[in-house]
């Protein structure tokens, strides 16, 4: 790109300012998590850095239990979504049946129904199944995902039909073709969808709040909220320490998968 040095300078200053504004809350949380309560409440700059807040966060609340629950729930949802979405997308691309396209459009149309609209029927169902306070109650309602099916369908469509025909002639059934050809070829998109699904469920708040009544399966986002309200005077240092711990897995995933995530999400758009 050709750009004058002056222009470039302005751009970079603007970019830096916006970056600082965007990152400020996170930075504040990070700094606060290392500050003593006194410093926080007086609003002064940190006089000393301490790890006490982290110790407290783990000691006072079952944070490990929450983190573990969140991991289990997120991973279950991720796997469930990958399996169901890829199977559905396979059917929409490689199997021919009457009304396939119509069915697909109906499927996609469900994306327009916000989750909040279906939350009450969903709650009724898991209550009637006695699934409240269970992992299946937390995860199964999220297995079927229209967006994931759409994403994978676009990706599978780029696989030449001849591959399917060649394996048909070789005597390979649909399921083996799905396992040995389609999944490996669409690896990038699967990773993308997996990361996306994991992060979304990791950050989920409303549903775990409804579907849990005690600490046994409660996820970390609810736990954080509890940190805030359990005491009359909020212990901001501890809350921030908890928040930082919660962000860490998200950040790790993002740094590891950023390249793949971008490629995967835009892949379907190219064509």
């Amino acid at each position: 790109m050709t750009m004058g040095t002056g222009k470039k300078l302005i751009f970079y200053i603007l970019l830096t300012i916006s970056a600082i504004i965007l990152f400020a809350p996170t930075l504040m949380a990070l700094v606060m998590s290392f500050m003593s309560n006194q410093d926080i409440l007086t609003g002064s700059l940190p006089t000393s850095l301490t790890l006490d807040n982290y110790k407290n966060a783990f000691e006072r609340f079952p944070l490990f239990q929450y983190l573990f629950n969140s991991f289990v729930v997120s991973i279950l949802i991720m796997i469930g979504q990958l399996v169901l979405c890829s199977l559905a997308a396979y059917a929409f691309v490689f199997l021919e049946f009457k009304g396939r396209d119509l069915l697909f459009y109906v499927f996609i149309a469900t994306m327009m129904i916000p989750f909040e609209a279906s939350i009450i029927p969903n709650f009724h169902i898991i209550r009637d199944l006695n699934w409240i306070d269970t992992y299946q109650g937390l995860t199964i309602p999220f297995f079927a995902m229209a967006f994931g099916t759409f994403l994978l369908r676009q990706n599978f469509k780029m696989i030449p039909k001849e591959l399917k025909e060649a394996s048909q002639i070789a005597g390979m059934g649909d399921f083996r073709f799905y396992l040995t050809v389609v999944l490996p070829v669409a690896k990038t998109s699967l990773v993308t969808l997996g990361v996306y699904g994991f992060l979304t469920s990791w950050n989920m708040y409303l549903w775990p709040l409804l579907a849990t009544t005690n600490d046994s399966v409660r996820t970390v986002q609810i736990g954080l909220k509890q940190l805030q309200t359990q005491e009359q005077l909020n212990d901001w240092g501890v809350i921030m320490a908890g928040a930082v711990i919660v962000i860490i897995p998200t950040l790790i995933l993002l740094f590891l998968g950023q390249k793949k995530l971008q490629r995967g999400l835009t892949e379907g758009a190219l064509k």
Binding site: E162, E165, A166, S167, I169, A170, G171
Partner: protein, 372 residues
């Protein structure tokens, strides 16, 4: 022995227009059979029906005297090579070649044995650990061939396998495929839109247009005695020169396109030719260069192509553009009027209305096809 037999095979989508109309033919064991036709003629559909990838609307398909209409592809014991090669991008060459064998549960030892043999035959031994995207077009083509060879299926179907290659490589692969087929004794059904490929490779050719068989026969037969105007203009490069023609009232002359009279012996004109609208055709190589004494016509050259070993000349004959192909190098310029020799025994006669062949050229066969 007949390997593949088609009886009144018909294909239509949604019960509307027929893509293929009552195709009947039989293909012998060990034969190299070429289906040729312009795009949209239904040749690929026919091949895919034989492979079992496409339903047969009507008719009977027999492979080895067994009706296979409703058998899935894998039970028809055949292999297929696709136009885009259909190589699995995430597998190495070796895995690609062995893909079908794994599905068929061939033992590991035999897999390796066949792989080694095939790779050697196709010159792929060095490339076995590469991925398809690291191969050139010709190498990919070879892998696709190897995959079909390794299956040891007696019947091999190919759907325009050479159309993605450049001209030089294509000529090479033509020879290779042909040799391979003879060496392994495969029955080959080969689809192409390129008539040169059809002529050079096929034992027999079927010309297909609009879902209807135009002609089935040996390449030379199709060339010398095209059954109709479509085959005449489709087979051969450059295409056969065609023109509407009328006899003079005394049948001593045949006047082509109203401008080119050709001397006739009135006695040789059969009754069949007299009462139809005629179109005559003559191959480019049968418009000879004439000397002053034996030239029958003087024609104005509108285009010259120097190919080194031969020279192609174009003339305007009425509304048609005719070409002549002369061996050797001729220093002729556009606009020159040159003497040519066109004789009546090289003319093919067609009925302009039904487009069928009435009478093939009488000369030619004995001169050109030299039997050894």
């Amino acid at each position: 022995m007949e390997q593949v037999e088609l009886i009144d095979i018909t294909k239509s989508y949604d019960k509307q227009k027929k893509v293929l109309n009552e195709i009947s033919l039989s293909i012998e064991k060990g034969e190299f059979f070429v289906l040729v036709g312009p795009s949209g003629s239904g040749k690929s559909t026919l091949l895919r029906m034989i492979a079992g990838l496409e339903d047969i609307t009507d008719g009977t398909l027999k492979i080895n005297d067994k009706v296979v209409n409703h058998l899935p592809p894998k039970e028809r014991n055949l292999s297929m090579v696709f136009q885009n090669y259909a190589l699995y991008p995430h597998l190495t060459v070796e895995q690609n070649i062995l893909f079908g064998l794994k599905a068929k549960k061939v033992s590991k030892v035999e897999q390796q044995e066949r792989l080694r043999e095939t790779a050697e035959m196709m010159g792929l031994s060095e490339l076995l650990s590469r991925k398809p995207r690291e191969l050139s077009g010709g190498q990919r083509q070879r892998v696709a061939l190897a995959r079909s060879v390794v299956s040891q299926a007696p019947l091999c179907l190919m759907d325009e396998p050479l159309s993605n290659l450049d001209a030089k490589l294509r000529a090479n692969m033509r020879v290779e495929i042909r040799r391979l087929q003879k060496r392994l004794g495969l029955t080959m059904i080969y689809v192409t839109h390129d008539q040169v490929e059809a002529m050079t490779m096929g034992d027999r050719i079927m010309v297909l247009n609009d879902g209807i068989i135009q002609q089935i026969g040996k390449p030379i037969t199709l060339y010398n005695e095209p059954a109709n105007l479509f085959v005449a203009s489709f087979i051969g490069s450059p295409k056969m020169n065609l023109g509407k023609a009328k006899f003079s009232t005394d049948y001593k002359q045949l006047i082509i396109e109203g401008v080119l009279p050709i001397e006739m012996d009135p006695l040789s004109v059969s009754e069949r030719l007299k009462d139809v609208n005629l179109t005559v055709g003559i191959r480019a190589e049968h418009i000879f260069s004439g000397m002053e004494e034996n030239a029958t016509h003087y024609l104005e050259v509108v285009n010259v192509e120097h190919l080194g070993n031969e020279t192609t000349l174009a003339f305007d004959i009425g509304t048609e553009l005719w070409t002549a192909k002369w061996p050797g190098q001729w220093m002729i310029n556009v606009g020159d009027k040159i003497p040519v020799r066109i004789s009546v025994e090289h003319l093919c006669y067609f009925d302009s209305d039904s487009e069928e062949l009435l009478k093939a050229a009488t000369a030619g066969k004995s001169q050109e096809v030299v039997a050894i």
